[in-house]
Amino acid sequence: MLDMILSQAVNGLVLGFLYVLIAIGLSIIFGMLGIVNFAHGAFFAIGAYLAFALNRQFGWGAALLAPILTGLIGVVVEMVLIRWLYGKEPLLGLILTFALALLVEAILRLVFGGAPVPFAAPKFLAGFAEYGPILITKYRMFVLAVTVFVLVAFWAFLAFTPYGRIIRAGSRDPEMVGLMGINLPIVFSGVFGIGCLLAGLGGMLAAPLWTVTPSMAAGAIMPAFVIVTIGGLGSYAGAIVAGLLVGITTAMTIQFQPEWSGAAMYILMAAILLVRPRGLFGEKWERFE
């Protein structure tokens, strides 16, 4: 039994990293822009479908462009739709992004059909490694490595570059940053684009594991929201810790009480919010109070 617990714990951690990758973009967009992006799952699906289309036409190398293209689509969406919502009633953002999610799903269905499309990992990432009772596939190790790299790189970008400082300052006091002569709308477009790029990256990496259908967003958006809520809205570190917690909790529930596995993360969220209503790393933000 101990072997199985260890095996499930490691598997849960790896799954948690995939969840972190999906959730982190949502956390960034809320933390920096104050928008609760219900369309985050839609960008996840766009990433998966772009990877599918590029892979089919040009091979896996081209599929790597999918997150970048998703990010660019995000920039356009921000410039056309999202930027009119800054400082407005949060409900407007919820409604607009929810409508956007439905629109994207309908467009994907129109273009690619409703049936799932086949998508496999590249051959060099097929196979798995066994360390005693622990089994990890090469592809999941690759996903883990990419996630860790992206998290560290983005943290370094925010912490050590002038652009990162502008984004952080803009998220706390946009007026002040604007008064310093910085073109904040461009910064915000970039932030939204980065959030969408991360969603697209999550979609591309999840595509060989999950079923690629226009409705695949539903499988991503709920864990992402749960993770962001548990971690604390807008908290980078919180999203990471919460993602891993959700992964381990889900895996352990499958081991001992499988029929509860779908509800496990929601029970975890409720328990944490009872103790810490702002989530694990949630702070009081003047802008959103």
Partner: protein, 422 residues
């Protein structure tokens, strides 16, 4: 003498009023019969509306797309006419069981449909069936497989195309038992999965085998790796699946990813062609029952015509779900023509006698439980898939004889259906 004053102030006598009314009535009658027939025929020209409830969102949407296209094709093949009148399909969504129920109520209450085809998942079909029973409108469940639909929840207005889970299980279970007698059951946590769990559990225990593990999986589970690790540790001879549509696709992709493809045989009943097409040739694996296959040489000429029309229109082969949607709708449309009326009771009676020739057997709905009886295909996966549509390697078409079919579907004495009256 009573007089009526109109707005202009002119007075109309009682006699004038009566004469005027009679004249107006006579004019209307005359116009309808003579110079202006379109006034009298307006009701007859009203299109006959058929309700269709197939998912437009959610985990079953991939199958629902084919079901809907097959259903629409059945009407298109009649040039969209029924009883000499134009006919149209009104398609509503079924996002969940409550949504399916509301859609059925809207179709009946607002659209005044004369019959409904739909219910992609068992839980949706049960919800629609309860509305059909209450509103006394014929309902064809073309895809749902739960036994309850034509078992304890049967009713006079509900008819079902898909063989129930226990029939599929009776056909596939002996194949699985011939591989090994230690089974692991991985089934969805709703009616369809629970029926599979019970049917296969009962079979293997009755035949000297064991169940080494049984997990119920929530619908829409995105990651099966933890379930697969449990299966791997339990070392079963066969894994019996009971997850539907895109959930099955996800499972098989991850089953392959974790190196299980070819290591432990996987079997599942009543899978959709699209579930496997979405898995891809690298990961597709298993032994299945399917209801129809576009390359089956035993397909009737009418089915071949349907498949050709579908491929021409949608540039892809017809799936089993296309056929089920088509056959369900065809049975309803045929029955309306047979009944020569849109009156629900007459359509129900026609459905009970409706027959469709498939090879040496007459396919139709049994009057005592409204279950369609027929054959199923047992299919594996081609070892080397070269055509992106041609995945299945059909091993058998069962049950072989009409007697075997009757036995597989069970007799009236075995049925839990207590059929109500019209």
């Amino acid at each position: 003498m009573t007089e009526t004053t109109i707005a202009s102030g002119r007075k109309i006598g009682r006699r004038s009023l009566l004469l005027g009314s009679a004249g107006l009535a006579a004019t209307s009658f005359g116009a309808s019969r003579l110079g202006m027939p379109y006034i009298g025929n307006a009701a007859a020209a009203e299109p006959i509306k058929i309700g269709m409830i197939w998912a437009k969102t959610g985990s079953i949407v991939d199958q629902a797309e084919y079901l809907a296209q097959g259903s629409m094709l059945a009407l298109e093949q009649r040039n969209k006419t029924l009883l000499g009148r134009p006919a149209e399909i009104v398609w509503l969504d079924e996002p969940n069981p409550q949504g399916a129920q509301q859609s059925a109520e809207r179709l009946i209450g607002e659209q005044k449909v004369v019959g409904i085809v739909g219910g992609a998942l068992s839980s949706f079909a049960l919800a629609i069936s309860s509305v059909a029973k209450k509103a006394k409108i014929p309902y064809i469940a073309a895809n749902a497989a739960t036994g309850d639909l034509t078992g304890k929840s049967c009713n006079k207005y509900t008819f079902r195309v898909q063989p129930p889970v226990d029939v599929h299980a009776r056909i596939l279970a002996p194949y699985c038992a011939s591989i090994g007698k230690k089974w692991y059951l991985l089934t969805a946590s709703y009616a369809f999965g629970q029926d599979i769990k019970k049917a296969f559990n009962d079979y293997i225990l009755a035949n000297g085998g064991t169940v080494v593990g049984a997990d119920e999986v929530p619908v829409g589970t995105p990651d099966y790796s933890s379930f697969i690790l449990k299966i791997r540790a339990a070392k079963p001879d066969v894994v019996i699946g009971g997850v539907a549509a895109s959930d099955l696709t996800t499972f098989l992709k991850q089953w392959n990813e974790l190196g299980m493809k070819g290591k432990i045989p996987f079997a599942e009943i009543s899978v959709g062609n699209t579930d496997l097409w979405g898995v891809g040739p690298e990961a597709a694996d298993g032994l299945f029952t399917i209801t129809w296959w576009y390359k089956d040489p035993n397909n009737t000429p009418e089915e071949q015509t349907m498949a050709a029309a579908y491929e021409k229109k949608y540039s892809r082969p017809a799936a089993d779900k296309t056929w089920m949607g088509w056959l369900g709708m065809k049975s309803l449309l045929d029955s309306i023509e047979m009944a020569k009326t849109t009156e629900p009771a007459a359509i129900v009676q026609a459905l009970e006698t409706w027959k469709y020739k498939r090879g040496d057997i007459d396919v139709g709905y049994r009057p005592f439980d409204h279950q369609m009886t027929g054959r199923l295909l047992v299919a594996g996966i081609h070892p080397n898939i070269t055509d992106k549509w041609d995945y299945f390697d059909v091993k058998a078409e069962l049950p072989k004889t009409p007697d075997d079919i009757a036995k597989a579907f069970g007799s009236q004495a075995d049925s839990t259906c207590k059929m109500d009256a019209l």
